[in-house]
Symmetry: C2
Subunit: 758 residues, 2 copies
């Protein structure tokens, strides 16, 4: 088993190849055009009036003052439109609030004007009379009898719940020698992408709608918007400029922004651009859900985990967004990391009068990692067992079918643990320092997410100059999908990736696709690209054999027969185009990943394959202040064969740093329903100076289903970091910090055995 | 034989259908975005320094003053770049002049600056030292020994020449009873599209070039630019906004503008927009060539034409552009209108120190029509024969192979003549009025234009909502190609054209195509669309039969079995996409029109089919002033089955009006090499008040090759008008006006039998 770096086990021909693309250089040289920079001729500026109340009845809205302002073209309110409820999982939102507002930031009216300043003044000129209602901010209080109610369709403020039972937890706990339990809490965290969401909506005379906005899943959003706006899906086109960061926040992006810019464009007939301010991103985005974990685990003296019981309460905020899906992942994914025979998990999602929440990179698997891995170390301490040994004793391996039905094929989890431990110096621990290690499993795509379109498709076109274009609906938003797809096709076609362009940004052109989430780009999208390139290669070889009169091999852009006759690719292209009067030669590939949907109990092998990882941390805590110094992070990944080593390093450095923010820096602060830190001055992100030494290592494995053996990496990079850091801190101070972020103050009081009042 | 209007022999379901498209309504409501309105983030403005001399040596160029201006980003001169000669037919141009300028307007330097005003000031700050050279402005003088020479590669200023001989003209003239001869001259005329040409060029970090500019033939221009800029063709992408008029002037557009904006973008790294002023359009566009026709014809007493001899001199201006191709059409197309056994035509193209010329709608067939049809009426007068009878005696008909090899299949030329004569009141001529009639033949596409890609291709995609998208490289620039293609596909697919979107504006997406010229859109492009729709229909029917368990008929968007089982199109689309993991169902069509290239003598059946027309005019001349009143124009067309009657009316009204401008209003005026009327204030276009009553009539014919029997119309609409008007004026005053435009002054002096000094 080799470990990268140090060998050349990547798929790419060279490290230089990894970042040789115009896209990369455009970014670093400032050429890239992001949505926020775009303008259309005759474009209006849109602005949104938001509720100042966490919960209130709207008694009246007076827009006459706004309409009188010169330059104002339209003022929309919920009452003056036919609105359809919409939502990603449940339809609990309207484009504009009618009657009731449910959080501070709720969209009440929208304005289009000739410029942003006029639109802002128009928003200020709208007079709304509210009747404040009792509000609830705490998810536990929200579920109690007598709490203020947010949605009539969801009595008791219960947005979603599930009880997941495998085996017999009572039996499991009876078999345990040691039982540990704890309550962990996490905060809402923001995606904090550098470019706030913007959208230009443009309508033609037949209400054909074009949106210029960057999305991770443009087709899925297109369908959702078409349904909400009562338009045929093919009349909604989404064109994506470059994306200034996504991290899951742009899978669905900000649907209100798209809907309101579209509605303003339909009303005015002119293109309308809405761009969120940073404050709006914080107060009306869809940050990662806050969670309360009450967890309990039984372990035998030999380290065998016998049972785990969890009561998980997820704070949904005022509307659901992806809440139910995130709650599902949080409540089940970590169960498949270790062999746990008896599991009982109740998860509830509660409405509160706060910012509606969503998901962030890894869908809460990292959040659960924090809770469960910290709990595991509590068990190790109680058993007097090495936490690494405890993990190796229980971790899943190849051939396992996990407790929820995941079928583990390629899996080097144990090697990840061992490699991480060796690299962090697990056997030569330094005195005064704390060490933590944590593992992770994460799905590559999900056959249940959009069941009828679980796969991916790609078209590869031979250009007349012998270069190639890949058409795919999968999205590059900085993670390197385009580079990876070019490398996959280049390997099939035996050319340089520089000769391959990837086209993915326009729903009118690309194959229908799920887009970029759940680590499906490389494994599933890349598989389709490989098949398309192989299809094209076969077609080219057929024509080459016909024209050369003998079978020929493709190398360096030229087909050669054993006799030395040659036919370069441009001639293949030219012959085909002449024969077909302008149609280019194309190869098609589409890939349907194996896997099975959940059964009624939530059991099923929901992904084609799974990626694994182990992170280890070496930390030091200042006993006087609780200040944390992170001496080293080791991040070991089993993501199959690495295709683009440079981009993979980028994922690891970025994911670890984002996980560091989640663990130690970030978190929404509320006063009731009011966000107290809605900007980068007060919401603490780790800066370059906060980033510890990170050692990224890749296990040289090969997945039978992944293209050239590759598996996903983009989400799992963050998952084990949370557990590793938390375990390292607990190791340093002898007690867990039971809420995120682990600030110095919390660490200090945890070390002192006292609760830290937030 | 039916004549439209009055019956419903069009292919479209209703007149309402013809203009029901978002594109049409976007135009009339001002929503359409033209290139001139576009901006990209960070865009610079480009401006061109032009020669003030008709012919001069460049001694030095000092750009230091320009470079010092704040906001100037680049100043390009020919000397500081590696330049490749380029040209459409012959490579006689460079992006920027080196050493020599050859006309007033020749491009000497190009500037990119932060805004247009700064760019303009920078252009003014460039100091060029010229050494004036002797210049030649008259094409006859240019060909004389000792004339100033423009291009070393073309001694004697002869850009191109051809002697075309069929039969034996000496024998033909010997058989003639009457011989007529005359010299006719025409002026350069401007396309006068409302939107001047503009182009934004943007380069990525790997010199991938994207141009935002509207072109009739984007792929052909793309290849030409790629070759000139030493880029692989697939790295040059042309994206077309809506086009504010083309009329042939945007087949190749203004190559200098594209090259210079690209070179400035490459130099600066920023997007650069050059937009021509109206004056630049006049002095540095590629207006229609001026021509001198010396023509002679022999006719028997019974009206049989026995021979025709022509000496045609075409003024090429300083560079060739499409000059040779236009000269070719001028010198041969009209020969195939009548049965002329003996023909001898010498055509020469001469360089002069004036605006380089090109072609305009119909490639000079209309110019020749003026000369030859006027000459025909001179023969009729000399014979004392009815000009209509003379034409009917000689005109070609179905089954003919013309003197140059054109194979006439569907042809209603005689019916066009008779219908036009009847409608203009040929048999009840009013006293004091002049009557003229003229015919035309025009090719539908040309197999010789770009011989390897003579056909067209299309892809029709089934959208998931049961609507359709056509991908085509053929271009709609206002003439209605999109509407016609939607109607063709709609008829095959049995849906409304409103359910069909046409995508044609992006070379990265569309099939390779020749584009919009030579009346090839409907006949050739439309044929490919029909085939693609039929291919798709067959695929849909196959899946429907499989899913329904029985053969089913498609009607109104639903497949129905004889038993009444139904499957709507969205379900077909959905099943296909699920089976193919996101790939849509598509139909492909490609069409290779029959025809044969020219042989070495210029003989060949160069088009799949030919359109025919006859126009008739009723005019009155004020004997005191020569002022012309046009009482009526009848325009009768055999364009096969009419697909979109409304768009066809638009073509006739527009083409006749443009022909009226050519005949009676327009024309470049020069003082030496200086254009005297380079704007709409001094260059006279006909206005709405100048347009006479026009009666458009369509012969209800059907071409075996055209889609649903259709043939082309867009160019021929202008052709016979020139002859008809000239003949009517000659009929009114008893003598021909031998130069265009036929101003009142010229008519007055022609009536007086004297030459009019221009």
């Amino acid at each position: 088993m080799k470990v990268l770096p140090g060998d050349q086990a990547t798929v790419s021909a060279s490290a230089e190849e990894d970042f040789q693309s115009a896209e990369v250089w455009d970014k670093v040289s400032g050429k890239t055009v992001y949505g926020i920079d775009l303008r259309l001729p005759g474009m209006l500026a849109g602005k949104i009036l938001r509720s100042p109340h966490a919960h209130a009845r709207i008694k009246s809205i007076d827009i006459t003052g706004a309409l009188k302002l010169p330059g104002v073209r339209a003022v929309l309110t919920g009452a003056d439109m036919k609105q359809k409820p919409y939502g990603i999982v449940v339809k609990d939102e309207l484009p504009l609030a009618v009657d009731t507002v449910r959080y501070i930031g709720d969209e009440v009216a929208a304005v289009a004007a000739v410029d942003e300043e006029t639109a802002r003044r128009a928003v200020e000129a709208i007079r709304v009379e509210y009747e404040p209602l009792a509000a609830v901010y705490d998810p536990e209080e929200a579920l109690q009898a007598g709490a203020p109610q947010l949605h009539g369709d969801f009595p008791g403020n219960l947005a979603w719940e599930r009880l997941l039972e495998r085996g017999d937890v009572a039996k499991g706990f009876a078999e345990a020698d040691v039982v540990v339990e704890e309550t962990f809490t996490t905060r809402a965290i923001n995606h904090a992408y550098l470019e706030p969401i913007s959208c230009i909506a443009s309508v033609d005379s037949y209400q054909g709608l074009t949106l210029y906005t960057a999305l991770q899943s443009p087709h899925i959003v297109r369908n959702l918007l078409a349904e909400t706006l009562d338009l045929p899906p093919s009349r909604v086109r989404i064109v994506g400029p470059a994306m200034g960061g996504g991290f899951g926040g742009r899978v669905f992006g900000n649907l209100k922004v798209y809907l309101l810019s579209a509605l303003l464009a339909m009303r005015t007939g002119a293109p309308v651009k809405i761009r969120l301010t940073r404050e709006e991103e914080f107060i009306a985005g869809r940050p990662m859900v806050p969670v309360i974990f009450k967890v309990k685990m039984g372990v035998r003296r030999d380290g065998t985990i016998t049972a785990r019981e969890s009561d998980i309460l997820v704070d949904n905020g005022a509307y659901s967004a992806q809440g139910p899906w995130v709650a599902k992942t949080i409540s089940e994914r970590n169960d498949s990391l270790y062999r746990i025979p008896h599991i009982r998990t109740r998860v509830r999602l509660a409405y509160t009068n706060k910012v509606p929440t969503g998901q962030l990179r890894a869908y809460g698997n990292q959040t659960a990692n924090y809770a469960y891995e910290t709990l595991l170390d509590m068990a190790a301490r109680k058993l007097g067992m090495d936490p690494l040994e405890l993990r190796l004793k229980n971790c899943v391996g190849p051939g396992d079918i996990t407790v929820h039905g995941l079928e583990i094929k390629s899996c080097n989890l144990a090697q990840c643990f061992k490699t991480a431990a060796a690299a962090v110096g697990w056997d030569q621990k330094k005195p005064g320092r704390g060490y933590g290690i944590s593992g992770a499993i994460h799905a590559n795509g999900s056959v249940v997410a959009h069941k009828d379109f679980r796969g991916a498709a790609a078209v590869v076109r031979l250009e007349e100059d012998g270069k190639f274009t890949i058409f795919t609906g999968e999205q590059d938003y900085g993670q390197g999908t385009h580079a990876v797809f070019a490398q996959i096709a280049a390997r099939v076609l035996n050319v340089s990736p520089q000769d391959i362009t990837v086209c993915s940004k326009d729903t009118a052109v690309i194959p229908y696709s799920q887009g970029a989430f759940a680590m499906r780009q490389t494994t599933i999208g890349g598989h389709a690209v490989r098949l398309a390139a192989e299809d094209l290669k076969q077609k080219m070889a057929g024509l080459a054999a016909e024209l050369l009169g003998a079978e020929a091999e493709l190398s360096g852009g030229v087909f050669r027969t054993p006799d030395g006759a040659e036919l370069p690719l441009p001639e293949i292209a030219y012959h085909w185009r002449c024969r077909h009067n302008g149609l280019a030669m194309t190869g098609e590939g589409n890939y349907n990943p194996p896997g099975s949907a959940y059964d009624s109990t939530g059991y099923g092998n929901i992904a084609v394959t799974y990626s694994f990882a182990a992170h280890a941390a070496e930390v030091e805590v200042d006993p006087q202040t609780g200040a944390l110094t992170i001496h080293k992070i080791v991040a070991v990944h089993d993501s199959g064969k690495i295709i683009n080593y440079t981009a993979s390093l980028g994922q690891v450095f970025g994911g670890v740093t984002q996980g560091l923010g989640y663990s130690c820096f970030e978190g929404y602060l509320f006063d009731g329903g009011q966000v107290l830190n809605p900007n980068f001055a007060t919401y603490q992100l780790p800066t370059a100076l906060d980033v510890p030494p990170i050692e990224p290592l890749f296990i040289d494995s090969e997945d039978p289903e992944g293209p050239f053996g590759a598996k996903g990496l983009g989400e799992i990079v963050q998952v084990p970091l949370l557990g590793a850091l938390s375990c390292a801190v607990a190791d340093a101070i002898g007690a867990p910090v039971t809420s995120l972020p682990m600030t110095a103050e919390k660490i200090y009081w945890a070390a002192a055995g006292k609760e830290c009042l937030e």
